[in-house]
Structure formats: C-alpha cells, structure tokens
C-alpha cells in the first residue's frame, strides 16, 4: 500500500504466515483433548490472577488510557523517536543497525556473532527473533543458539513452536516436559520426576553452564527509552539478567514500535504489563542497560531495529493501533477461540486475537487471508487490553480489505460475495425483502417436529451440530399488517 509521500513499505517475512487456513488448523487442534485440557486450566488460572491484581487498582482505567495515549503519540512521531534512540545509544557506546526485514536482521546478527568469534549464543525474550527465524538462520551459519527462558527451552528442546506469547509451552503439561528433558538433556538426572521444582532445577543446571561459557547474549526488548537510549527487559526467571550481564557482547533485536519517549512513560507500562501478563503486581526481574560501561558488564552492545512489515502497518490508519501492543498476552487468555484451539492454529509467532490482526498487518492481508475471520468478534480482548487496542474493529476492517482486494483482483464474485450482494440488493427494497421472506417460508417443508436437522451447503456447516428454526407461517410484518387492518374494523 502506498501512502501519501511514503515509499512503499515492504511486507514482513518469517514465521508470520499460516501454513494452512485457520479453520483447518483449528479442526486439528480441537481434536487434541490433551491440548484443550492444558489450555483450559492454564488460561483459567492466568485469567483469575489477572482479574485479582487488576481489581486492586482504583485507577486501572486511567492507566489504560495513559498507555494508549503514550503509544498513539509515539506512533505519530515514530521516526523522530527512533532517531533520538539511535543518537542516544550511539553516544553511550552502542551500535544501532536498521533491518528492513527478517533476512536483513538475521544477516546482521550472524555477522555480529561471527565478528565476536563465537559459535554459541544464549538468548532471552525471543519473540522478535522467533518472528524472523533467527535460530535457524544462525544454525545455517554454524552458530548454536540456546534459549534460556524455561518455556522457550522446553519448546526448543521439543523441536516445537511457541503457542503463547507469555507461556510459549502452554500446550505442554509437566509429564510431557519431563519426557522432553529426559530425551534431550544430556546432563539430566535419569531419575527426574515431573514435580515442577525438580523440572525447574534440571533446567537451571542445564542452563548454568551455558550462561558461564557464552560470549554473546541475544535478547529482545520490552521497551527502549528514546531520551537516554536505555533498553528494558522484564522477566520472571533471572535468565535475562544472566544473558544481559555475563557475555562480552549483547545483541538486542527489537521491533521498531517498542520505542517509548521517556522514563516517565516507562512508569505507566511497568504498572500495566506485569498485571496484564503474569497477573503479578510486579515482575521479579527488570533489567535496564544503557550503551556500555567500560570495565563493567558487556563491552559490546548492538541494537538491531526491525521493520519487517511494521512501517506498512503504521501506514494503515486503523491497523496502526495493533503496533501499540506490549505483548502481555491478556487477550489470548480471555479469548474463547484461543482457549479452544491454542496458538499453533494461528500459524504465526503471534497467536490469539492480537496475532489475528498483527500477522495480517505485517504480511499484508493476502499473506494471512483466514486470520481476520478467526474471531467471533465477542470483544473480550478489547476489554482486557492494557493499551486499549480495539481488536474487533481492526478485524472488521481487515475483513473489508480482504474482500476489497479480492474484488480488485477479480477473484470475486465467489459464492459468498454473490450471497452478500444479493442480500444487500434484497434488503435495500421493501418489496424485494418481502418476496425473499416468502421464499424463506418455503423452507418450512424442511421442518420435522418444529426443527430443521439438515440444510444444504454452506448452511450444512450450521446443521452439523445445531438444529435450524423452521420459518414461521407468518412474518412479523405480515402479522403487523393484519393486526392493524383488523383494528380499523377490517376482517379479522
């Protein structure tokens, strides 16, 4: 999409595309009763925790409004804040790299790791690097990447894919995790139980050696403060602190929408994020670093600013709000669709309601044509979003864009478009509308015992699990007309 005065922004590439249509992927996921049980328990627990700590704050709605306002203001002048960030990071001894897409970002990071003389890296906050497929790209260059978030580690060892933004291994239960550890960790105690503390201890021992030997740490970022060039990572396990302080070189890959103007703004988000995310008043570890400090901690700091479709999303007046997302995942935990199908069905590193808008915005809707429809538009996501992203409205606009693009490329009319156009034509005229109602009453012949058990496609999808109502003998308007003529003394 070309926007006034802007060059055409390239679409995002990487792990953002659904390999198969959402309805088909969802069908497979729904058949997995273990997955559904895990998801139901996990999301119910997080939902309750979030509701409790959010309820403690009398000014929660004001905080949400402040978060939304800061993000809106930042997006309106994103170029200015990014240049300020670059200036400040550079002035404090860091180096800033700009990556247009996944391939550029991966090449930059691989080059930096090689220049540091390393063949192993430790990683934390890996969502953006999952988006660009960094681990695979590094492996192609002979560099081994070790995930250090417990859940990311489980996913990596299980040769699996994250299914939740905050809890990437939400689809696994502890018995499955024990099996993965026994199979994949060479240094694990063969008597390992599925007791959560025992599992955590096994991971801790496994990771400790990596932390102490790795010369390069790679991180994502929750926030970058433009006024001082400070990066911020929030986490719960302390692995972030290890990754960001022990190696000689730290490389941060950050979506360019993560910049915020000032420290005062950070104060708002540090209240919103943990409560929305883990349901905690405050997360256990908040790491912040500014450039490099001679003789203390990493002596090389590189910041890779990733576009990968974000500029294109920014040019979209409705969709732009999806870039406000602070990756708390509250929307996933309240989504009735996500709870039943899990994250993998979305086919992107960004699952759930936010993924259903963010992925098509980054790739272009033609790259993810079924995701905008992967919602009943129930609105639960909008209610919990800490920065008030109106996800249902963005979904509706993406659906409109999908239909309009199909129409422009003459892929319409299909059966659905014909139905919609016909319905519009019928409803735009009282006479045609009544004729259609009379036609619908012909459906009475399908009724048995006051219900219809089978309808032809596409409504067969309805009667697969639900009866359909038998059309009444008389529509409301017929009744009204009859009623009001009889009131005037006409024949009853």
């Amino acid at each position: 999409m070309t926007f006034l005065g802007l060059p055409t922004a390239p679409p995002g590439v990487g792990h953002l595309h659904a390999p198969e249509p959402f309805p088909a992927a969802a069908r497979q996921a729904l058949a997995d009763s273990q997955l559904r049980g895990n998801l139901r328990r996990a999301t119910a627990t997080i939902r309750a925790k979030r509701a409790r700590v959010v309820g403690e704050l009398p000014d929660w709605e004001e905080l949400r409004a402040a978060g939304e306002a800061i993000k809106t203001r930042t997006m309106a002048r994103l170029d200015t804040y990014l240049e300020q960030l670059e200036e400040q990071v550079t002035a404090r001894g860091g180096t800033v790299h700009w990556a247009r897409d996944a391939a550029e970002a991966n090449a930059i990071v691989a080059g930096l790791v090689k220049a540091a003389g390393a063949s192993e890296v430790v990683k934390v906050k890996s969502l953006a690097t999952d988006e660009i497929g960094l681990n695979e790209a590094l492996a192609d260059e002979g560099i081994e990447a070790y995930e250090t978030d417990l859940a990311e580690l489980i996913v990596q060892l299980g040769d699996d894919w994250p299914s939740h933004i905050l809890v990437p291994a939400i689809h696994r239960n502890r018995a499955e995790i024990r099996e993965i550890f026994l199979r994949e960790m060479s240094d694990v105690d063969p008597g390992l139980t599925d007791d959560p503390p025992a599992l955590a201890e096994a991971a801790r021992l496994h990771l400790r050696r990596k932390f102490l030997s790795a010369r390069v740490g790679i991180s994502g970022a929750n926030f970058a403060i433009a006024e001082t060039g400070t990066l911020c990572v929030v986490e719960s396990e302390g692995n972030g602190r290890m990754c960001l302080t022990l190696p000689e070189t730290v490389i941060t890959v950050m979506g360019l929408e993560k910049v915020i103007p000032s420290w005062a703004d950070l104060g708002v988000f540090l209240q919103l994020l943990p409560r929305s995310s883990t349901g905690e008043r405050m997360n256990p570890y908040t790491s912040m670093w500014t450039g490099v400090t001679p003789g203390d901690g990493p002596q090389q700091f590189h910041l890779v600013l990733l576009d990968n479709g974000r500029t294109a999303a920014l040019a979209d007046s409705t969709g732009r709000a999806a870039l406000h997302c602070i990756r708390c995942s509250a929307c996933l935990n309240v989504c009735p669709v996500y709870e039943r199908v899990g994250g993998h069905a979305y086919g992107s590193v960004y699952p759930g309601p936010i993924g259903a808008v963010l992925s098509p915005l980054l790739t272009g809707v033609e790259g993810n044509p079924t995701l905008p429809y992967a919602s009943s538009l129930c609105g639960a996501c909008y209610d919990v979003c800490p920065v008030k992203i109106d996800i249902p409205s963005i979904l509706v606009q993406l659906r409109a864009r999908h239909v309009e693009e199909a129409r422009r490329e003459h892929r319409l009319p299909g059966p659905e478009a014909i139905t919609m156009a016909a319905a519009s034509w019928v409803m735009a005229s009282g006479g045609r509308y009544q004729a259609a109602q009379r036609a619908a009453r012909a459906g009475r012949v399908l009724g048995r015992g006051g219900r219809i058990r089978r309808l032809p496609p596409p409504l067969a999808a309805w009667t697969g699990a639900r009866d359909a109502p038998v059309p009444p003998v008389m529509s409301f308007r017929q009744w009204w007309r009859q009623e009001h003529s009889s009131n005037k003394g006409g024949p009853g």
């Binding site: 009735p336 429809y373 009943s376 609105g379 239909v403 478009a417 019928v426 409803m427 639900r466 409301f476």
Partner: protein, 247 residues
C-alpha cells in the same frame, strides 16, 4: 412517547413472536409503537463479513426510515443496536459520505436495545410481567461489550413475578455464534457452543434467555439437537408475559 420498532430482519423473518412481544410489552406500558414498513436490515452481517460496500445501502435505508418522527427507536437485539451505534457512521465515513455519517450518528443516538429503552429512557424495571419458570440469562457479547448494558436485563428479570433466576456459570463467555463465524469456523464455533450448553445444563433451568435472537438461535439449535428439553426464549417474550396471556 412515539417509539418506532426496528424488529430486525432475523426476528421479522424467523422469530416474529419476539417482535410481537416487544409491541405487546411497550403498549402495555402505555406507549405508542409504530412499525415503519420500509425497514429491512441493519447491515451488520455485511460489515462483519467484510462487505462494507454492500452494507452502505442498508445503512442509508435505516437512517432514512428512522431519522424523522420518532422519539426513540427500539430493537430486540443488542447486536443490531451495537451495529447501529458503532458501525453505521463508520461505514458511511469509510465510503466518503460524511453527511450520511452525521445523520447516522444522530439516529443512532436515539436507537436503543430493549433493556436500555426500558431502564434508561422509560425508567421502568418492574414491567408487570409474570413468568413462573426457572430461567438462566446469557448476556450476549455485543449487548455486554459493545452496548455495555451491564445488569439492565437482570434488573428487569428480577422483577418478573414467579420467575426463578439462576446464575449461568461463565455467563460472559461467547456462545460461539459470531454471525458468519458459525459457518466459516464451524468446528471452533461448535466447541464454544458445547461449553455454553454444558453451563446452561448445569443450571437446571427450564429456559435460557438473552436479548438477541441470533445467539438464542445458536444456543437453542444446539440444545434442540441434543434433545435437552431446555427452551430458549427471548427477553422480550418473558417481559411481555402476564398471568392473563401466559398459557
């Protein structure tokens, strides 16, 4: 007060009793109800399926039919009221018709879902109804999160004589209808419906009620398929019911 009924295309065609009940109820409360025959559909299905261009004539029709002569427009649907109030101006504006958008906003400001009209405009909670059944209430998503009707329907139900109101577990979770979602994502929709039905069954209610015929058609279609014996009845029908009319 001159009240116009926007019966909605769904109730008009498939659930006329809902429209009749709305008329009966408002007339019993002493109001004059009119039914402008030129009305058709709010266009929500088109908007939510991506066909905004096809929704535009329906938005224009709604505005033209209802913009003059009525103090209030009432509809027995939270979803259609949500569309009128939150989508009509947007559709007009997106098509470049700013004038229509402003007219749509003016009509939308006088358009109400039934429980809103009763409690906010007519200031009544006890409508004099009698309904001797065990009832559970499903708050539909759009009435809850687009219109924010809150506990208005419950306040009305609590004043119905003879009615035993039982709380629905996980009431605020979507039933899985979602318009064309139920057909495009039928498997996911069915999984959501299954959980909703289990919660309805757990209440041991005879009747499940709501303010939207569409969601009730979905829940009721599932309950009927499973031969549970639980009926779905629109809020308007319960509020219209009296000792004299009840069979």
């Amino acid at each position: 007060m001159r009240i116009a009924l926007f019966v909605t295309c769904l109730a008009d065609t498939l659930f006329p009793d809902v429209g009749k009940a709305t008329v009966t109820l408002l007339e019993r409360l002493g109001h004059e109800v009119e039914f402008p025959a030129a009305q058709t559909c709010c266009g929500q299905m088109h908007v939510n399926t991506g066909y905004q261009r096809d929704a535009l004539p329906l938005v224009r029709r709604y505005v033209e039919v209802f913009e003059r002569g009525y103090d209030a427009i009432v509809m027995p649907s939270g979803s259609c009221a949500g569309s009128v109030r939150h989508q009509h101006a947007m559709v007009a504006r997106r098509s470049g018709d700013e004038l229509l958008a402003r007219r749509a906003e003016a009509v939308a400001a006088r358009s109400y879902e039934l429980s809103e009209l009763l409690t906010d405009v007519l200031k009544v909670e006890d409508v004099g109804a009698w309904y001797p059944h065990r009832v559970t209430y499903h708050p539909t998503c759009h009435s809850l999160r687009v219109l924010r009707v809150g506990d208005r329907p419950l306040r009305l139900l609590r004043r119905v004589a003879g009615l035993e109101l039982v709380e629905l577990p996980d009431a605020d979770v979507c039933c899985g209808f979602g318009g064309t979602f139920a057909v495009k994502n039928a498997d996911t929709s069915t999984a959501m419906l299954a959980d909703k039905m289990r919660n309805v069954l757990d209440t041991r209610a005879e009747v499940c009620t709501a303010g939207d015929s569409s969601c009730l058609m979905h829940i009721g279609g599932g309950l009927s398929r499973l031969r549970t014996g639980i009926r779905t009845v629109h809020l308007a029908e319960i509020l219209a019911s009296t000792r004299e009319t009840s069979r």
